[in-house]
Amino acid sequence: MTAAAAPAGLAPGGRRRSALLTGLLVLPAGLWYLVLLVAPLAIIVVFSFGVRARNGGYEPALVLDNYGALLSRPEPFVNSLVMAVAGTIGCLAVGLPLAYYLATRAGSRKNLLILLLVIPFWTSFLIRTYSWLIIFNPDSGLAGIVNGLTGGDDFAILGTPWAVLVGLVYGYLPLMVFPLYVTLERLDRTLVEASKDLGAGRWATFRQVTLPIALPGLVTGSILVFIPMMGEYVIPAILGYGRYYMMGNALVSSFLEARNWPAGSARAVGLIAVMLVTVTFYLWFVSRGRRTRETSVL
């Protein structure tokens, strides 16, 4: 046990920790999780063993058919995986230097810049995405300009994975930047200076001083970006011209088009399970050898 960690039940300094206070702190969130997460998920699990009612929806049953059908079409899962990985890497590449700059170099304008980061997202998602359609327009937009310059007429950005990638990075950037910023902001510059004074190169300093502090933010950010991207389907539908069949499309297809709630539920459970395993593995991998001190600050 690390030095200042007190025995259970005792706060640092030896005072008795109030279990009541702890309970009260955790109660609202706990309640929300119980009622609005666990309960709905239980419903989904129950549905996944059912069958489609005659007119769609759920009919009680206990069959495994829906799970059996899961592996028959891997394309949506693979497509989503590729997109999500690419998108997460893109967000990291764009977001990490930005977060670093905001946290360590922006000085007094930090808060202003942070706010400016979110303001674009208060305009509706759809008209932002439409703006990308206009920007990449094969007629008058970027693609049109390239065509004009090269004299060709079939250069297109829309409908390609690149358009989707831009759309994804654009849409999820704050979810990567905020966690990174929130941890990097605690980076003490004197530590960095000291490290360099002691002869460590920039890269070594980054690896041994900056990165460990940024790591919780990096982990949170990449999870907050990767997971929703796995379920994303609107951006590929609009910017990808509907040419990429993703997990999100498959889910919407099951629930809304086929109105087969049991099949959709099984797909959802499958996806959630896979993602949960991935996240658990990721968290374990990243925290190997790191001891996190969970000493209360209250």
Binding site: R54, D139, A156, G242
Partner: protein, 374 residues
Amino acid sequence: MAGQDLDSYLKRIAAQPVSRRSFLAAAGLTGTAAFLASCGGGAKADTELFVYNWSAYIADDNIEEFKKRFGITKFVYDTYANNEELIAKLQGGATGYDIAAPTAEYVPGMVEEGFLEKLDLSKLPNVTKYIDPKFKGLWWDPTNEYQVPKDYGTTGIMYRSKNLPNPPTSWQDFYDLTTGSESGKVVMVDSMGDVFVFPLKMLGYSLNSLDSGELEEARQILLDVAPHILALDSDLYQDKLATEEASMVLGWTGPLLGLQDNEDTADAAYVVPSEGSLFWMDTWVMIKDAPHKDAAYKWLDFIQDPAIQAIETEYNYYATCNTEAKKLVSQEVLDNPAVFPPDDVFVKLEGAEDTSGNNQRLDIWEEFKSKIGG
């Protein structure tokens, strides 16, 4: 045409600030208002109506007229993006609305699930009197007690004639062009029922076919064209036609007049393929346990008042089922074959059924979607 609407719309707003303000007060200003309203409305003479509908699908003039004529102070018009959302919500147990506008093929299922109120036809004289008999007693509502027709239209091929020296007249043409000269310039709407019309009709089968052999043949055709498809898009295909990214679209007539009105895209045209196609009908229904049944009945009858229905037709550019209203519609709209299919086309149209429960269809559809664009 659209410009005229806009100008008159603006004039109306300028001229009636008071009624608009009351609309503001009504249209969901405070959560309490909505909460109380949705918590089991009272039994007073209805002054409210909750409508759940596609967007911009009712003429504003008609809404205002309805409110004036029947003393409705609160007309809530919420929107859904497609039938699937409406049905999913009802299936999940959502409540609170009086009127909705599903497409006809979903009505039988909704009746069976108990989502709809059975209509007392004695309260709907306009419906009984004016609806064209050929739209009554159809398979989706044999007793006409669950829906009131709203409008109807077709699925077909929209295209830019300037890019097509030999415009398509049949699904076979569509197939040949898509796999041939127009490869990579074809868009289809993202709707399983509509896309399946193409292969099934081309093969001479019913577009509602559930026969596994016929569906397998259809699958082959779909897989043939999949690599040549530019996009699967229900909402922005007119833009793709306008920029000439696409030369043909398997879709609906809604955007057609907008394209034709503009001089850059005036060569846009629409055809119902010769092998036949799908005819859809949108309907008005009353949701079970509607909080304002009285107002709902008034609405259903009001909307089939010929003068009112004519305004609807001029606003939506979709065909009306109301014989008296047709007499009041402008000749230009009546003569437009994309809006009112001529009789010789009409006989080749088949009404759509709800085939969303057929696993083979779904499988083919998902396979098709995975293979688009190559």
